[in-house]
Every structure is written in C-alpha cells, then in structure tokens.
C-alpha cells in the first residue's frame, strides 16, 4: 500500500517535469509573439524588409541580417558536412578500434569547447591568417565566421552521423561484400545510402546549431550589415541576426520600436530553426516508416 502511494507520487513528479517543457516552450513563444509582432504595426513592411540596418537612426531593414545569417550558415555547412560525415564514415567503417578510442573523446571535447574561446582564437589567429592567405581587405568576414561555425557544427554532425551509420545492419555490408563490392564501394554504394536519413538529420541539426550560434560569430564576422550582392560576399564582413540581437538588446529602451524589431528578428530566427528541425524530424520519420514497410 505504502509503495503504491510512493510510486504514484513519483509518477506524478515525472509527469509534471515532462509536461513542463511544453509549458515553457509555449510561454517563450507567447512572450516572443507579444514583444515581436507589434513591430509589424510600428515599422512599415517595406522598411522592415528594407536593405539598410541602422537602428539608432530608424533604419530597420532586416534583409541584411537574414542574408548574413544564411550566408554564414551555408558557409559553415560547406565546411561542416564533408568534414563531419567524412569523420563519421571513418570512425564507423574504417578506423581501427584504438584510433576510434582516441578520436571520439577528442571530438567530444571539441563539442564542449565554449564558443567564446573559439571566437577568441578566430580573432587572434584565423582572421589575420585568412586576410593574408586569401589577400582580403580584412580577415573579419563571413568566411571566418563560417569556418568557426563549421568547427562548432562538426561534433554534432559527427556524433549523429556515426549513430546513423552504426544502425545500418551489418548484413547489408556482408551482402555487398559477398556480391563482390570492395570496401569503398560498400561504404559509398550501400552503407551511406542506407543511413541517408540519419545523415540528413545530422546535417539539419548542424544547421540549427550554426544558425543559432552567437558569440563566435559576433567576434569574427565584422558585423557590417551589408546586403550580399554576389557569392563574393562570403569573403566580406556580414552581420547575423543573433549577433544583432546580442549586441543591441542591452541598449534598447523596453517597449521602443527598436526593442520590438529585435524581438521580431527573434521570431524570424525561431521560425527558421523550427523549419529546419521539422524538416529533420519529418525526414527521419519518413525513412523509419519506409523501413517498417520493407520489414513487414
């Protein structure tokens, strides 16, 4: 009797902590919407999606910020995907056990590295190096930010990709080898395609990780709100949405137009992350259903 009562209590506590996350997310959403949507009424849409961001003089164009974030994130993926998936394939398919035992903890350390530290290295080492090596006007560019973000996204991509590759049944590999495929053909033709949805999820989570990153990006991208005109913009300074919110939120008067616009940027950012996460989970779900159909 006593134990049954105790168990009921424990179940309740666990239940509440489970539901609380729903409560917190909806409270955050509510707050974001309450503080951000007034911006739509205060700033004409044409200005809000204008080309110039200079809030202290009333220029609230958020396009340069959206493009800045997209530019840096795409750049980060161009670096993070080949490195991340390559590392995962190596770890799961090729590496001898002792190398695996060294590499995995190192990647986990990389994941735990505070982004401020990476940003500091970026200012001191990466930016001067890229300026001289690529002969740029300045090293504080979207590209430098992308490289740092690539490093930040790689651990996420590696660990999820590796899990995905590990779940590919070994019978697949044996089958491919039995059919005469060599090791590389097995990896490229069978294992990686079989783990495709898991790899996509890994990439999407990498996107989510990069687009939300603030500190490292703010330190090395130069924060100039320029609207990109060509691909060359990757090698010019850029200003991301996150860096804008972080550097300006402390200064604004609560309830001012600038304050509401910053929250609106938060809504845009939230929308982008949500879309990315939904895509990732729907991809994972779809492939699971297909696998179930095949097995049944």
């Amino acid at each position: 009797m006593e134990t049954a009562k105790g168990e009921r209590w424990i179940t309740w506590i666990i239940k509440i902590s489970g539901y609380s996350s729903i409560l917190f997310v909806s409270l955050i959403l509510f707050f974001l919407a309450r503080e951000g949507f007034p911006a739509l009424g205060e700033v004409p849409l044409k200005d809000l999606f204008g080309a110039r961001w200079y809030p202290i003089e009333g220029y609230f164009g958020i396009w340069p910020l959206i493009f800045g974030s997209v530019l840096v994130t795409v750049g980060a993926l161009l670096i993070g995907i080949p490195f991340g998936i390559g590392t995962a394939v190596y770890l799961s398919e090729l590496a001898p056990a002792w190398i695996k035992n060294i590499l995995k903890p190192i990647i986990e350390i990389l994941a735990g590295l505070p982004s401020v530290v990476l940003g500091f290295l970026g200012i001191q080492l990466a930016a001067p190096f890229f300026r001289q090596f690529l002969n740029l006007p300045t090293g504080l560019t979207a590209f430098t930010g992308a490289v740092l973000l690539g490093f930040i996204a790689i651990p996420t991509i590696v660990s999820i990709s590796e899990d995905a590759l590990n779940t590919v049944p070994s019978t697949y590999r044996h089958g491919a080898l039995a059919l005469g495929a060599n090791h590389w053909q097995t990896i490229w033709g069978v294992t990686v395609p079989a783990a495709r949805s898991g790899l996509l999820t890994a990439v999407m989570l990498g996107v989510g990780r990069s687009i939300g990153e603030t500190m490292a990006v703010m330190m090395v991208t130069g924060n100039a709100p320029v609207l990109p005109r060509s691909l060359n913009a990757l090698f010019l300074p850029a200003r991301t949405m996150t860096a804008t919110i972080a550097s300006e939120m402390g200064e604004v008067a609560t309830g001012s137009m600038h304050y509401h616009v910053l929250f609106f940027i938060g809504i845009v950012l939230f929308g982008i992350s949500l879309a990315v996460n939904l895509t990732a989970s729907s991809l994972a779900l779809r492939s699971r259903k297909r696998a179930e159909r095949l097995l049944s």
Partner: protein, 298 residues
C-alpha cells in the same frame, strides 16, 4: 565580447577589511557599509574602476560595483532604477529623459572628465594626417581607397564601435556629419561594427588597410594616431591632454555620470570626491583629460 568591460568587478576586498574593522570596533552602526551601483560606458569603465578602488581608501565603508556595457546600457539601467550612477560618453537623449520621467526618475548630469577620440591606422600606413572632412568622407563610404588620400593603393577598411556605444554616436554627430544637426548622413553600410575598443585596436594593429577610432585612453603603441585638422587649411594636431585642453584637437568631448535627483548622500559624496584634485589626477594617469581647468567650456 567586451573582454574587460563586461566582467562585473565588485570590489569586496576592502569590504571584508571594513567588516573586520567594525567587528573589532564594536560600537559602529550595524549597517556600516553602503552600496553604490555604477554602470555604463565602456570608455569610462577603466576610469570608474580606478576611482572606485581609490575611494576605498577614502571611505572604506562604501562599496562600489562598476560594470561596462555601453552608455546606452548604463542610461537604460538608470531609467529603470537599477543603478545609482550611469556612466555615459554622450549626453542623455531627449527620449531617454522622457522615459526616465515616465518612471518617476529625474536624471542629473555631471561632467566628470574629458576625452579625446583618436583616429588610428596601422603603423605601416604612410598617411599621418587627415582633415575632419576627409575622415567624414571615408566613413560615409565616399572614399574607398587609401590612394585617393595620397596613400598606398589599398582598400580602406572602416572600423567602428557598435551603435550602443556613446563613442559611436559622438563620432556620427561630430565627424560623419561634421557637427551639422541637419545632416542625415550615416556610416557606410560596410563599416565593421566591433563589440569592443580592444577589438578595434587589435584589428588596426594587424591590418594595414584599416582605419578606426577609439578613446585616447585605449590607444596602444601598436597603432598610429593621426593628426587631425578641423578644416584642411588649419593646423593638423595630434590628440593629447594639452591639445584637448587648449581646444586645438577637434574630436574631443565631455564624459558624464548621471544620477537621479534625491540620490543618497553617499552617492553625492562620491561625485564631489571625483571632482577633487586627487581623483582628477587618476583621470590624467589613465590618458583622459581632467575637468579642473576647463570651466570656460569649449
């Protein structure tokens, strides 16, 4: 981000000493220590820290906590009533006064020091002097190569502080707009907005294409200060305590502390101490310009 500035520096060391003192004295009042919150401009933060430290020897029972973050940040905190003293490197704006009054707070202004803003380039850059007009044209984006100013054939990389910095606002009004209130020019969109004074010094000392500006107190030997002339036909002057005090260096400004009316006596005592010769000596030591002999104004 703001490496030194953002770190909250609470001076508690002497509080402990004070506590020990009152414990042994016994007869002291129980609430012996008063607490002053001081926040704002990153330009002033080192000066405010030095003052807070020195004040411990004058009034050991007063604890002063100093934080940076930018003039706007400090004034916002004053408006919301969370600090006693806001440091600002620009005058309070009309809308900030309104916001304060809406909260029942009436800001009081104190000029506590003066500052020259040095325009800096990399030591490799052969350019040694520019007129205000030329600097304005650079920052508006009208001049994009050093060769147009008689320098090497290099692109110009413009560096500025973030828009929440009082230095940024001052530079916009007095340099980019040349002090003309009707002028609505703004910084070129590709101006790099760096989150700290140190970031500007770091990039300028590394990059021969760069031009930046920073408070005189922050300038280090790794960068080169430019001599600046009000107009092209006037003398080019390097920033220094003398050239600011005799009014020759054109980019100088007052630094402020803001309190509210009805501030506690401890805050008023602190502010009057700040204007004493001893405290103003610290101003000189840190590369700022003291306010003792500048009653005549600009």
């Amino acid at each position: 981000m703001k490496f030194a500035a953002r770190t909250v520096v609470v001076i508690t060391l002497l509080t402990i000493l004070a506590a020990c003192g009152s414990a042994s004295g016994g007869s002291n009042s129980p609430s012996a220590s008063t607490y002053i919150q001081n926040k704002g401009s990153d330009t002033i933060v080192n000066l405010a820290l030095a003052w807070a430290e020195a004040y411990q020897t004058v009034k050991p029972d007063v604890r002063i906590s100093v934080t940076g973050g930018g003039s706007g940040t400090g004034l916002t905190a004053l408006i919301s009533g969370t600090v006693d003293i806001a440091n600002a490197s620009r005058k309070i704006k009309a809308e900030e006064i309104q916001a304060a009054e809406a909260n029942g707070i009436e800001p009081v202004e104190h000029v506590i020091a003066r500052d020259a803003i040095a325009v800096i380039v990399n030591p490799e850059n052969p350019i040694g002097e520019l007129s205000l007009e030329q600097i304005a044209r650079i920052y508006r984006g009208e001049v994009n190569n050093w060769s147009e100013l008689g320098g090497e054939d290099r692109p110009i990389v413009r560096l500025s502080r973030e828009t929440n910095s009082g230095t940024h606002v001052y530079f916009l009004e007095e340099v980019v707009r040349l002090g003309d209130k009707e002028n609505k020019e703004i910084f070129s969109a590709d101006t790099l907005l760096l989150p700290s004074s140190e970031g500007i010094i770091a990039e300028v000392s590394d990059n021969p294409n760069a031009i930046g500006y920073d408070g005189l107190g922050y300038v280090t030997p790794e960068v080169k200060m430019l001599a600046v002339a009000r107009t092209a036909d006037q003398p080019y002057v390097l920033p220094s305590v003398e050239s600011v005090n005799n009014g020759q260096y054109p980019i100088s400004r007052d630094l402020y502390m803001y309190t509210q009316t009805g501030a506690p006596q401890s805050v008023l005592d602190y502010l009057s101490w700040i204007l004493s010769p001893n405290a103003q000596q610290i101003v000189t030591d840190l590369g700022f310009v003291p306010v003792l002999n500048t009653t005549a104004g600009k």
